[in-house]
Amino acid sequence: MSYVHPEYLVDTEWVAAHLDDANVRIIESDEDPLLYAIGHIPGAVQVDWFSTLQHPLRRDFLTKETFEEVNSSLGIANDTAVVFYGDKSNWFACYALWLFQYYGHQNVKIMNGGRLKWEQEKRPLVKEVPSYARTTYKAKAADKSIRAFRDEVLKQSNGKKPLVDVRSPKEYSGELISMPAYPQEGATRGGHIPGAVSIPWAQAVNEADSTFKTPEELRALYEGKNIKSGEEVIAYCRIGERSSLTWFVLKYLLGYRNVKNYDGSWTEWGNLVDAPIEK
């Protein structure tokens, strides 16, 4: 058995062989943006999940126009193969990939194992920031079929349809909300969305080298919790980044047709007046 859409995944060897490929752009997207400055894959550019990909004012993503500007300035054309990698088992790489898909970029890939595997294999990291000839990128209208908003999530919960909570078990149980050090990412209530099953994101990756588990293991993991391919599935976490990894696994590695990421996640739901909560 292989992944359903293996073209969305490349290994470190493939990336090493395509460092000078003009049709490929490698993007580092990290939880900690300083890692790029300390050393990155030669030729890779950086997008930051916060300063690049978020709207500067509202809690939302950058606009379509800003997305076009970002891509144009990074020398990305509409048909460029964009390969994402990053720290923390590719959380933020998957988040960036999801957002590229949101604005219609089709040719996207994740480097399996991310930064950790590249480092483990002692492949080169450089400090030099590359620059590429500007392009004129044209984005598509936002694809809302991969993004869930709160009203849909409520309907999904009331309709007893599949919801996956990918946070750690203690966040699911409501024991933890977030650390006091991160007040903006906090929530006033703990627990989970009624009906959501707990499948922590980390169960989809191998701890040793951050690569994804085998198709068999992944299928057993999600189907074992009754998350099956026929129905619409919504995944969420705390701010929508860990759940974009689960979204990637369900959509491309397992081939589920209808998967959405609820980026509002617990920092919205746990603050939402009148929202139902289960503990």
């Binding site: 300083l34 300390i38 923390k88 933890l176 650390m179 050090a181 991160y182 007040p183 701010i239 860990r242």
Partner: protein, 144 residues
């Protein structure tokens, strides 16, 4: 409330730097992190786990004979931003008394304009580490 002189000096230095200099200096702080002495390793290992989104920050304050506090820190190298921010605080507050540490205003870093180098969101790391240091200062005042 006054910012202790050493910390104020670091804040002023950053305020006058370009974005690139800020990044380089922050990286230098992150990379100049001393290793945790052996006698604290057991204490670190018994530290409560943090939710997986967060960076585990181990911090221990030790009162010196002159009454000043020295902080020992351990933060994984995979989190250079938090390491850099914590290292700035550990340097800036080294030798301060617990009372002085407790008076450091929570927004001391605003004039550093660090948000142009790392996002505003990440600067919450400062708030977290400072809160942790104040917690240690209270423990030392209570002589625990």
């Amino acid at each position: 409330m006054p910012i202790p002189p050493k910390l104020q000096e670091i804040v002023d230095d950053f305020a006058s730097m370009s974005r690139e200099e800020k990044l380089e200096t922050l990286i230098a702080y992150a990379e100049s992190f001393p290793a945790l002495p052996d006698w604290l390793k057991e204490k670190r290992d018994s530290m409560e786990a943090v939710p997986e989104c967060m960076t585990p920050v181990f911090l221990f304050g030790e009162k010196q004979p002159d009454g000043g506090v020295h902080f020992y820190l351990d933060i994984p190298p995979q989190s250079p931003t938090v390491r850099g921010l914590a290292s700035i605080l550990a340097n800036g507050l080294d030798g301060c008394t617990p009372e002085e540490i407790l008076t450091v205003p929570g927004d001391f870093y605003l004039s550093m304009n660090l948000q142009e180098a790392v996002s505003q969101q990440r600067l919450n790391g400062f708030v977290g580490v400072l809160a942790h240091m104040k917690h240690e200062a209270v423990r030392l005042l209570e002589n625990k």
